[in-house]
Amino acid sequence: MVTILILPIRYLGHLFLKTISSLGKSGIFLFTALVLIFIPPYKIYRVIKQVRFVGVNSTFIVLLTGAFTGMVLGIQGYYSLNKFAAESLLGPIVALSLIRELGPVFTAIMITARAGSALSAEIGIMRITEQIDALEMMALNPIRYLVVPNIVAGIISFPILAAFFDLIGILGGYLVGVKMLGLSEGGYFGEMRNMVTMQDITVGFYKSISFGIIVNWICCYKGYYTGYGAEGVSKATTEAVVVCSVLILVWDYFMASFFF
């Protein structure tokens, strides 16, 4: 009877300790990687390679989703604004939604799905096939070699891709609002110019940089500390994508509140 009562408490205690330990470990992991960014030797070639992998290779999917997001915003925005006879505000609404929120968030989620999962799997396989041990045995720091270039690549790629997303999304909104629904071209872009400020762009920029760090941190961490065998890698990859997606939305809320 006593055992039955103790078991859930023991389980909760175990879960609590495991969570705290995991948070601490991942925090130290990120801190180490961020410090190593500024300490030579710099792995420039690895950074360029990862910018290509994380950024350049994600361009098409980001542009595609950006275009359709802008078009949906165009239709839905027009529908809502039409009720208040305020269709002329479609341009600023599309632009502000994209620049402040949807651009950075959707870009981060798309990159997580495309590159983050692959990154986690790649590092996980390196772990289980002792390639990370081999790096250590060559007196090389695996975090400097594997994680730092990805985080730097994320800091470079995410804001650029988010800008592409914003741009193509605004054009998608233009296509629907101006070309299909008959708004004036001057109204669409004119109002946008009046209402979108530099601060809005800065907010989106900061968000993209922070998402670039978060996505690469989580994906590298999950791969680096993967479990045993193929099952361990598959679990790490799934966890990386889920945690990244949730964390992107949670962090977005905090940043949105901070910059409100």
Binding site: I125, M126, T129, E130, Q131, D133, A134, E136, M137, M138, A139, L140, N141
Partner: protein
């Protein structure tokens, strides 16, 4: 050179090493033999500093390995070469780049000089024609030889081999062991080889240790081990040993 005293290690309360003690003199090669799951690879990872012991000490050249951190551990590992059981070649690099990698990362040699060294090394291990291939395109034996070339390219002071000949055909086994012997004579490294390759390994090493039940049950020169009256040693040498806990 390498002194191990009372080394203990458990995984999830399952003891693997239970008081391992031995000594390897400078310039000697020690073969650690024992059944599968006896903890031989775990022992090797402790010497390399990849694992920390629960108890006991490993002293290499006056340095206690478990106490080494940061730069000190890095300097220690610069003196080591490690041949992993599965090769641990980098999937994303060709054989040539894998072998050149330690030189590119840890030395200031010009690419021309690196090319000379890598080509010579690949020739020594007999895979000079496979230099452009990626690990996924290689057979098990070729992977082992590429990994051996990578481990030896920096002429390390201490070499740790984790089953260097497992899964190879008899001719390749002889070539690999012969290459280890020749390299040892040339460079005089201190080494530990974890292996099942008996009796061939006796021609390569100066000392042999039989690891069983988490401890060293026999230690001596190959001749002493072969002459040993210990039933477990004889059982193992004649291929009749059955074994122990998983590592």
């Amino acid at each position: 050179m390498i002194t191990v005293e009372n080394l203990y290690k458990s995984f999830n309360h399952r003891p693997v090493l239970q008081g391992v003690s031995l000594r390897v003199e400078k310039g000697e090669i020690l073969a650690v033999i024992g059944g599968s799951g006896a903890g031989k690879s775990v022992f090797l990872k402790h010497v390399s500093g990849l694992m920390e012991p629960d108890r006991g000490t490993i002293v290499v050249g006056g340095l206690e390995v478990a106490r080494l951190k940061g730069k000190a551990l890095e300097h220690y590992r610069e003196r080591l070469g490690f041949l992993f059981q599965g090769g641990a070649l980098f999937d994303s690099m060709s054989v040539y780049d894998n072998v050149a990698f330690p030189l590119r990362e840890k030395t200031r040699l010009q690419e021309e000089k690196i090319k000379d060294l890598v080509c010579t090394m690949l020739e020594h291990v007999g895979i000079e024609d496979e230099d452009t291939k990626f690990p996924a395109e290689l057979s098990g034996g070729m992977k082992k030889r590429a990994a051996l070339a990578r481990a030896l390219i920096t002429s390390p002071e201490i070499m740790l081999f984790d089953e260097p000949t497992t899964g190879l055909d008899p001719i390749t086994v002889r070539n690999v062991l012969n290459y280890i012997k020749v390299t040892h004579q040339k460079h005089g490294f201190t080494g530990i080889i974890v292996t099942h390759q008996i009796p061939e390994i006796f021609a390569v090493v100066q000392k042999v240790a039989l690891l069983s039940g988490g401890t060293i049950v026999a230690f001596g020169t190959p001749e002493e081990i072969q002459r040993s009256s210990n039933a477990l040693v004889q059982e193992f040498l004649t291929g009749g040993v059955t074994h122990t806990s998983e590592s």
